[in-house]
């Protein structure tokens, strides 16, 4: 595999298995992004949404994309999910094109909003992916119940979305993304609309889900605290054009909880993220 021009990813052979910070063992490369660019044509001037992105994500990693609004972090993830097409460069997901990976249902996507179907019960929303894939009713309901239990919504199966709070709705959407057991979770600011108390609890729950399932997670956020607490690697991005400024390996232990955020290592990590954002002129104007 050719070496790329990435900031930190370039200084290790990408395909070799390696030991991640903490005790997390990272496996093969599951996402490989080479020289990726995306330019939107508009009436006046072209907008460089993403420019020369190089990034590799290994199996089992929790990678956060952080940056100011308009830095293309959501767009980058949508390209991985084949919801958007790049104008240049190459993306491989599990060694395939994003379109092939999507057809093989390689990932579960959690959107900014829960995007639940209001005419379906909580259980009906979580069984939706399996209904489309074509799994028997008993099996998909059993799986759905298991993941609803995992996100702490046991007993809410028969409720409808409007009967749940925003945090509960987002947990339903996480259970829905987990329900068909994809190896990868793509999460686009899933807790962005929640209040801070709910968000803290959701962060802890997500950490425990990630530990239990060992999935690869790509997590878009604009909260430094959230990125520090959750990630094994933090990708700092900047806007105009959207590019990667720095990739920071987490120095936090694998066992984390909400208090870990106040530890010296976490404070130091947050400081480094801030410096990275500053270097990308994220605090200008």
């Amino acid at each position: 595999m050719p070496s790329d021009g990435g900031v930190r990813v370039a200084d290790r052979p990408p395909s070799a298995p390696r030991i991640e910070v903490g005790k997390q063992v990272a496996g093969d490369v599951v996402i490989d992004i080479q020289n990726l660019s995306l330019t939107f044509r508009t009436a006046d001037a072209p907008i460089h949404a993403l420019s020369q992105i190089n990034l590799q994500v290994h199996s089992g990693e929790f990678v956060s994309l952080i940056g100011p609004s308009g830095c293309g972090k959501t767009t980058l993830m949508r390209i991985v999910a084949d919801l958007e097409k790049p104008t240049a460069g190459e993306v491989k997901v599990n060694g395939m094109s994003p379109a092939e990976a999507r057809l093989k249902r390689a990932y579960g996507y959690v959107f900014q909003a829960p995007a639940l179907y209001p005419w379906r019960s909580v259980l009906g929303n979580v069984t939706l992916p399996h209904e489309i894939i074509g799994i028997s009713r008993s099996e998909r309901e059993e799986k759905a119940r298991r993941y609803l239990d995992l996100v702490g919504l046991k007993g809410f199966e028969r409720k409808y979305p409007w009967q749940l709070s925003g945090g509960m709705q987002q947990r339903v959407s996480i259970a829905r993304a987990l329900s068909f057991d994809p190896a990868m979770l793509l999460m686009d600011e899933p807790f962005g609309a929640l209040d801070e108390i709910t968000r803290d609890r959701m962060n802890e729950e997500l950490l425990s889900i990630w530990r239990k399932t060992g999935k690869t997670v790509i997590f878009v956020t604009h909260s430094i605290d959230e990125a520090v607490l959750l990630s094994t690697r933090i990708v700092v991005m900047s806007a105009r054009p959207g590019r990667i400024v720095e990739v920071i390996d987490s120095t936090l232990p694998a066992e984390r909880n909400i208090e870990t955020r106040d530890s010296p290592a976490a404070v130091d990590l947050a400081h480094r993220v801030r410096l990275g954002l500053k270097a990308g002129h994220s605090y200008d104007d």
Binding site: R105, F111, I132
Partner: protein, 302 residues
């Protein structure tokens, strides 16, 4: 205080709060109707009584305007009496029974509505999924509604009759022609109503167009569909009645209107109109009931 409770959801009005405004409006209409009947029938009564100077007191005059056999505008009690007589005091199988005619109209309306709703839904599904259909069909669908179908409906009935189509079907065709339009418009809007995230979600599952239609677009369109079907069924009734006008012999509310106007039976016309409006209200009401049941089944807040 207001109809809206603290939590922002509408609170059911007390029975008195619901009934009072209706009673007030009905009373106002009845009073106005009596006044109009007096004003419009006055000249005829005056003419008839001019030979008899003894009975020209205002009271007899007013009484006369409310009890004519062929009034310009019959008084409400005359219409109600005729309505009662032809609805409840006659066998429903008799050709003089309003129930008999209402049934003929109702069955043609429901047939036409069923045709129209199915046609409307099929067109909407085609328009949403095939871009060329969107471009090519939509202008024709809109143009179709600019044809004054109510004006040419009698001719269409006569033409269809001459090629052997008689009975319910020609009337149902007129009513279908009128009522598919709101269904198409509402359904297209409904099928396009899912937000981008809900559609993206389907894409992440690599769902087929078929699955997107049945699991997302169709359920999302149901509230829109019912709103337009309520409009459509009322229009469908109008279409059927117009379709009945030229074929008086086959019966129906339209035939009642026609024979009433032949013989100057204004009381009969008005009681047929009353029946038509009751029929229309009942159909819209039933549709509303089906809507409530369906939406409740789909988890809507009660």
């Amino acid at each position: 205080m207001t109809e809206t409770a603290m939590n922002g959801r509408p609170r059911a009005l007390s029975p008195r709060g619901r009934v009072l405004p209706v009673v007030v409006i009905v009373c106002a209409i009845i009073v106005l109707w009596y006044l109009l009947a007096t004003a419009l029938n006055w000249a005829q009564v005056e003419e008839r009584l001019s030979n008899d100077p003894m009975s020209t007191s205002v009271a007899t005059m007013i009484d006369g305007t409310w009890s004519m056999e062929h009034p310009v505008l019959p008084a409400p009690h005359q219409v109600l009496a005729e309505f009662w007589k032809t609805t409840f005091e006659m066998s429903p199988t008799s050709k003089r029974s309003l129930v008999y005619h209402a049934w003929i109209t109702a069955s043609a309306t429901m047939l036409g509505f069923a045709f129209g709703a199915i046609l409307g839904m099929l067109l909407a599904a085609g328009i949403v999924h095939v871009r060329t259909l969107d471009r090519s069909l939509m202008p024709w669908i809109i143009a179709s509604q600019t044809v004054p179908i109510l004006a040419i409906a009698p001719m269409i009935i006569v033409i269809l009759g001459s090629i052997g189509m008689v009975g319910l079907v020609p009337k149902a065709i007129i009513s279908m022609y009128l009522c598919f339009f709101p269904v198409t418009i509402g359904m297209v809007k409904g099928l396009r109503s899912p937000d981008p995230l809900q559609l993206d979600l389907m894409r992440t599952y690599s769902a087929s167009t078929w699955a997107v239609f049945w699991k997302l677009r169709m359920p999302a369109s149901i509230p829109f569909l019912f709103a337009s079907m309520k409009v459509a069924i009322a229009i469908s009734l109008v279409g059927t009645i117009v379709g009945e006008l030229p074929t008086g012999a086959n019966g129906g509310i339209g035939a009642r209107l026609l024979s009433g106007s032949y013989y100057g039976q204004t009381v009969q016309i008005w009681s047929a109109l009353l029946m038509a409006s009751l029929l229309g209200s009942a159909m819209v009401y039933v549709m509303g009931g089906i809507e409530r049941l369906t939406l409740r089944h789909m988890g809507a807040p009660r």
